[in-house]
């Protein structure tokens, strides 16, 4: 992650950044990267069987389709937890 990438992210997310904001944001993202590095995969979860298979073809930030997909993923995950009658568990979807 560098300033150039950060500016691209900001523009596509509808934000303008000032120069003075960037060091702090870059630091935050570094903290995130360190934090998420602690996530070890101990699962053969179906979520990992086809992760980001179209990643190379995607633009560097979210397209409108991705926004919908995030919502769909979120709802599938959350509903699947509860095994609500009439709503299929996410593993079955």
């Amino acid at each position: 992650m560098d300033k150039k990438h950060l500016l691209v992210l900001a523009r596509r997310a509808g934000l303008q950044l000032e120069e003075k904001e960037m060091p702090g944001l870059l630091q935050d993202i570094q903290v995130l990267e360190d934090l998420v590095g602690t996530l070890e995969l101990e699962t053969d979860s179906p979520a990992l069987t086809h992760p980001g298979e179209h990643a190379e073809a995607m633009p560097p930030t979210m397209a409108p389709h991705d926004v919908q997909q995030v919502h769909k993923n979120a709802m599938m995950d959350a509903q699947g937890f509860f095994r609500i009658p009439g709503v299929a568990h996410r593993k079955e979807l």
């Binding site: 996530l39 979860s45 990643a55 937890f81």
Partner: protein
């Protein structure tokens, strides 16, 4: 024990045959709330005053005044979400939760301060003013529902609605010494709740007693056709928690006797439980060093109370919780960036200057959104970027699934789980504003329940040497809010904390 009604349930009992006395009490509460609000900073907008009617006095939640967090839509009221972007936004409709409260006779009187769009743990990430802790004016009221919690703790409202995404009801409840109930995700309709992270958001209740929280919750809960994720939920019993005993009467032991209550194995050694020797896992548990000694002693005390009431304590490892914070950070940012894309200023909110839509869009969001929101938007965009999605987003989703499986396994063995709500008591105002990671760590004990979607309850249990509130958190299986509240009520009675509130109308 206090000789004045501290909770709604107590007031209903005390004034059962004296509706005029109840009306007088409620009028005094409102008068004092308006007179003292500037000092507390919990309220951003007052709603039009309404006379107390005979129908109010006869309804389940009447005539008690309640406050509303600023991200829950109420027709004709400001739903500013703590954001400059929505400062002038007046909602044209009411959330299902608000409609249900009003139908039960609730009198919504104020909109409370909050962190912008619910992003924060101290209610300081907003440009619209933040509350202070009623127990200590230089300490945080917690967040993001800090305004709601501070108002309830100070006696300015009988209860308040908040929203809980990663602990935003329970953590401020802990800081302010009130009860905070986060229901199962999907139990209370989210229609009218401004979305932050849709798979985590829940509307919760802050009150001064577990019975009050239950009374409000059972008015809110139930399927709503306008929120598909609330459909299909199991029915909720409409019964009160107990036979509505006066606080001076002993609680029947039945709800707790024989209960299997999980307690943190990884905190056990420090907590000094003899029967856990040899069961502790390897060193390096991240949760333990973060916990203040007073909160560790409090956890130990609560375990003893439950054991005295006849519960069987079962050690449970919290080791999987270590990954919850990272998982939550990724998922809430990813969902937030997608939810917040709707704030473009074209239909509502701040419209920036610019010759084209794109320029206006950029200017409005840049000017109207605060630094923490921008930070999360950028983090969300980053974790969803090509090349980073596998590394962050998909990995976090998989971790979430393992956490759900972990809770499924735990609740196959125990009925509930007792743990701390936060690693520290209310921290000084301004001390974590420039340190987002320290701010996120405030939610380390509340995030796992949010990720799994299970119900959780924070109960005040005492104060530390500085007079700051301590609390316990109870977690229960999906949809088991009643069982959760029954255990919570037993713990509340045992702690006998209700009578120790410092509220201005105590001597009425």
């Amino acid at each position: 024990m206090a000789d004045y009604p501290v909770t709604m349930t107590q007031a209903q009992l005390v004034y059962a045959d004296d509706p005029e006395g109840l009306r007088h009490l409620e009028e005094q509460v409102q008068r004092i709330a308006r007179a003292n609000q500037e000092e507390l900073g919990a309220v951003t907008h007052w709603l039009p005053a309404r006379e107390i009617s005979a129908a109010d006095l006869a309804s389940p939640l009447g005539p008690f005044s309640a406050f509303l967090k600023a991200n829950i839509a109420c027709e004709g009221a400001s739903t500013h979400c703590g954001s400059l972007f929505l400062t002038d936004y007046i909602s044209p409709f009411s959330a299902t939760a608000v409609e249900r409260l009003c139908a039960a006779g609730s009198r919504l009187t104020a909109i409370t301060a909050m962190d912008e769009f619910g992003m924060g743990s101290s209610s300081e990430f907003t440009s619209l003013g933040h509350p202070v802790n009623p127990w200590h004016p230089r300490r945080t009221a917690g967040g993001s529902s800090g305004g709601s919690a501070a108002a309830v703790a100070a006696g300015h409202a009988w209860y308040a609605l908040g929203s809980d995404t990663g602990g935003s009801v329970r953590q401020p409840a802990h800081c302010c010494g009130v009860v905070g109930l986060k229901p199962t995700w999907g139990r209370v309709s989210r229609y009218g709740l401004v979305a932050f992270a849709s798979s985590l958001d829940t509307i919760g209740v802050l009150s001064r007693g577990v019975e009050d929280a239950w009374a409000v919750f059972r008015c809110l809960a139930g399927p709503d056709p306008r929120d598909g994720t609330s459909l299909g939920q199991p029915p909720l019993t409409n019964q009160p928690l107990t036979t509505e005993l006066l606080p001076t009467q002993p609680l029947p032991a039945a709800p707790v006797k024989g209960l299997r209550c999980g307690i943190p194995l990884d905190l056990g050694e420090t907590a000094g439980l003899d029967d856990l020797s040899g069961l502790n896992g390897p060193p390096g548990m991240a949760l333990e060093p973060a916990l203040e000694p007073a909160l560790l002693a409090n956890q130990n005390r609560c375990q003893e109370w439950l054991r005295d009431l006849g519960a069987e304590l079962v050690p449970v490892s919290l080791r999987p919780w270590q990954k919850a914070l990272a998982c939550y950070t990724v998922l809430n940012a990813a969902e937030a960036v997608s939810n917040l894309l709707r704030f473009d200023g074209s239909l509502y909110g701040l419209r920036g200057e610019g010759e084209t839509f794109q320029k206006s869009f950029l200017a409005g969001r840049t000017q109207g959104l605060g630094p923490e929101v921008k930070r999360r938007i950028l983090l969300g965009s980053h974790v969803l970027s090509a090349g980073y999605r596998d590394r962050y987003y998909w990995r976090a989703r998989a971790t979430r699934q393992t956490l759900v499986k972990y809770f499924e396994d735990i609740f196959a063995d125990v009925d509930c789980l007792l743990c701390p709500t936060a690693p520290t008591t209310a921290f000084p105002l301004g001390s974590r504003v420039d340190d987002p990671q320290a701010m996120r760590n405030s939610d380390i004990f509340t995030i796992p329940a949010s990720l799994a979607g299970i119900p959780a309850l924070t109960i005040p249990t005492g104060t530390d040497a500085n007079g700051l509130p301590l609390s316990a958190q109870l977690l229960a299986p999906w949809w088991a809010e009643k069982e959760l509240c029954q255990v919570g009520l037993a713990l509340e009675r045992q702690a006998s904390f209700q009578g120790r509130k410092v509220i201005p109308w105590a001597n009425l």
